[in-house]
Symmetry: C5
Subunit: 253 residues, 5 copies
């Protein structure tokens, strides 16, 4: 599990809170519930307009994925593929039937099942690539929600600030109130900037990176299945797939 | 029907109105008809310059589509294609002639009609792909109008604010009027930000998403027609097309 | 002729002028010739640096094209191509020689002339595609000039405003002059925003759209010529090319 | 030689200087050497971080190219290629050996030399395309330096203004000095905007356009060499290459 | 070693420090440790959210690479490849086995080793291209960290300034403190701008350029290995690969 994202969020919030604590103003000066509702609610509302309900409901899970992203064990995946290739080499493709249920990687499982069922390599590859395309589209939608939240949070922050300024300008009779009014107006912009730059924009970036990495694992799975079906030697398959590993891992047992 | 967009618009406007209601300024302070005309009228005018009249007249329908977007029933589409494939397998391609009129999906209907009429697969595919390209161009234009409205609304908001500031600066003799003048100047910027971030920018985003999803259904239709024409078995067609469904739906009856 | 662009410009200017007329400040407060020269002259100067003289001289014609864009009559083009195909079918390709001079569409004329002269289909297609690429490059340059004008006008507006502010700040001895000085400083920003958002940015957008539409007509012409040369039946050609028409027009006589 | 760029720079600077001359403030109010150093020096420094020393040293030559860009004589290039093709047709490819030294265009020279030396067409094309790719990379780097200067100049202008504002705010005891302090602070932003919008951004745009045009000449050269080597008739080569000329030039002697 | 980057950083910082030294305010006015922590810490925190821990730990090495980027000796690489080609020509591919250990370039080493081991050219090329893709992904991640730091530093600068303004506005009782409060608020924006424009943005640009150049060397290596394996003559290989050199170096011994 990579906890860099968690450390990052804690560090960013820690810096912001401690610099408020070090400042002269009381902590309460930075808290304004209606402002918070306009910014967070506005960003959520805008995202609801952009994305279907189902995708929005799944977005907390997407955020959880940012924090819990377990690093992919490509080596184990390659080992399992090579293992399957050895069985196929020794006992024929049909011998893999009994092993299908035990394959963890869904793409490999689907591919091997199809190969055992007698689908031609072309069909197997087409089905697997369509599947990868669908996974990629789901990732893009998850990242898209974060991107839009990171874009709409500052926009609603600005809307809140403009409303605050207009209210303040309506009533300039009491000069001592101007400063406080302006401070409250600025709080929505601050909230928008924090929400975008501590949460959603970095989350979107991370999801993009995670997706690109998962795509490589999926590519390994597809190439592995295709190689097994075409009867390549386990040693050749291992060599080919290990190219996807970083150099250090490549010669691991 | 996916009502997320409707909920989103209501939520966004609700937040804005209630935060005005909670504020100290009267509601009237946020209403200025000329400002509204400059921002909305300006955005519409700029879009009129960009797009042909016909497309502009169709844009309310495009907006309606955002709210009424019925989720595509890909499973039903696949079932119908498989059904047609079974008839073709059993009774020959020509037997589909009697069924053409009953096909709902226009792309499948055109394709099957052409196949029955004896067009070669190459020609059928070319015609269907040109059709999809034309649909895609119409979607792009609809999304383009929303994108431009979402871009010009804040621009005309800024133009209005600059005009308001220049007016205010002309007459600084009465200091008490400065605040009110500035408030009115800022209202166009507020309107521009609200119009862009509650309506047009999220609409454009949604239309892009809807278009990408419809493209997948169109791809299913094209691949289905091609598979029927090339005489693939209904079972193989079903397997291939179901790859486009989310995993849960894939094994549905 | 599509007059949407003309209506758009009139509407946008009308809104701006009437909101000035409704305001408290005299009309003269919004007129400052030197400011106008800095913004328009600056944008023209910057575009002159970017583009060759000849292209700049042609740009008024490009702007005229935005207003006079006559909708392409694709149906007539297809009919003429089908007509040529019928002659070629009946009397042979060489029979088209007498008709070449009467072909309006320059691309079709060039292509048929080459076919009659005995060029191979490969050469004909290469020549026509190079021609289309050249047309596309000319369109891109025309759109590019509008894009750059729409980008440099606000930039020179900001330069003017900064110069105005620096002048004003030099002489703060007379407080009553500050407002007027600032108003004049802001006028260049206003001019820049109006010039970009009423004229050049929407013009660039429109030119892009017009170019994409013309590209489709050019594609029809190329495919038509290729089909005639390869001796396809007029009926097949008609069917193939009509796919490029919107569904309603497709079955027109 | 196209002097549009020179006229553009003179026009832009003329407008700026004359609008200062027309203003109330003395010319000296717009001159501040340290501000100028921060903006220009900062932009140069940032570009030095981005690009290797050699590329930076060549950038004055790149700027000179913007002003001196002689229009490419594509017609002459085509004529020379057709001339070579005639010799090759009449006396064989080897007869070109004596003419190689007299070929001005380096790409044509390299290609013909290789053809004479007996390289296969595949190798010749690969070598010429790699060469074009390298030229394109050099152009991209030259344009990149201008782009970055046009991006960093305003950034360092803003850095200078922020430093100026902080200095001014330190010492608000003398209200009469505030205006002057602020004026000086704004000068760096003005310098940054002028440097970016009069010089580097338009230069980058122009270089991009020039590069795209040169690419077409290089394409003519490659296609000409390939056609000569494959023994096409001079007339066919002339017809094919003239497609790259604007219609008016196409039938020139 | 190209020290342009080092000179650039020193020049940029020198300009900033000397323009502070020339100014009226004491140097201390520009130092505020909490502000520095918010900006740098915030940018690091945001990058931590975006990127895995391992990549973040490697980023100082990436920055070092910007300063120490030794120019690639493509000529030496080509000479070694030609040398290997000569051995292969003379004594057969297997004769390269003894030389593998002495090959510096890891891509050439891997490729030759595979060729000697009897892998087919297709497999060798696939493995080498996958390797290059992995190197490219690592470069993209390194550049990505710099890009994000250069984007988040100004964002956290703005967050700091907003917090400072809100604090200042809370306490407007003492007018003399307003200037100082505002100065401190602006310092975070200044820090953000400096950190982005002196360090991370130019670093990202440089890394992109370095990566593009390294890609060319890797392409030389791949093409060289493929040419050796397919038994091309050393002279032809030399000619082909030297096309990747700048013209001046091409005829070097």
């Amino acid at each position: 599990m990579d906890i860099a994202s968690l450390i990052g969020v804690i560090l960013a919030l820690g810096l912001i809170f401690s610099s408020i604590a070090l400042g002269s103003a009381p902590f309460a000066a930075f808290i304004d519930i209606p402002s918070f509702l306009v910014v967070v609610g506005g960003a959520v509302a805008a995202a609801l307009i952009c994305f279907p309900f189902g995708s929005m409901l799944r977005s907390p899970i997407v955020i959880l994925k940012v924090f819990l992203n377990k690093s992919e064990d490509r080596l184990a995946l390659i080992k399992q593929i090579v293992d399957l290739a050895e069985t196929a080499r020794r006992d024929g493709l049909l011998a893999l039937e009994s092993k299908v249920a035990g394959i963890e990687n869904p793409l490999v499982r689907t591919g091997i099942q199809m190969a055992v069922d007698g689908s031609t390599p072309d069909v197997v590859e087409e089905v697997l690539r369509t599947e990868v395309e669908a996974i990629c589209a789901r990732h893009r939608e998850g990242k898209g929600i974060m991107d839009q939240m990171g874009r709409f949070a500052p926009a609603y922050g600005m809307i809140g600030t403009l409303m605050g300024l207009i209210m303040m300008l309506q009533d300039m009779s009491d000069p001592s109130g101007i400063g406080a009014g302006m401070a409250i107006a600025l709080i929505t912009t601050l909230y928008g900037a924090i929400i975008a730059n501590v949460f959603f924009s970095p989350f979107a970036e991370k999801l993009g990176l995670m997706s690109r990495k998962e795509m490589i694992s999926l590519e390994i799975a597809i190439r592995g299945v295709m190689a097994i079906q075409s009867g390549e030697s386990p040693r050749a398959i291992s060599q080919k797939l290990r190219t996807f590993l970083p150099p250090k891992q490549r010669n691991a047992e």
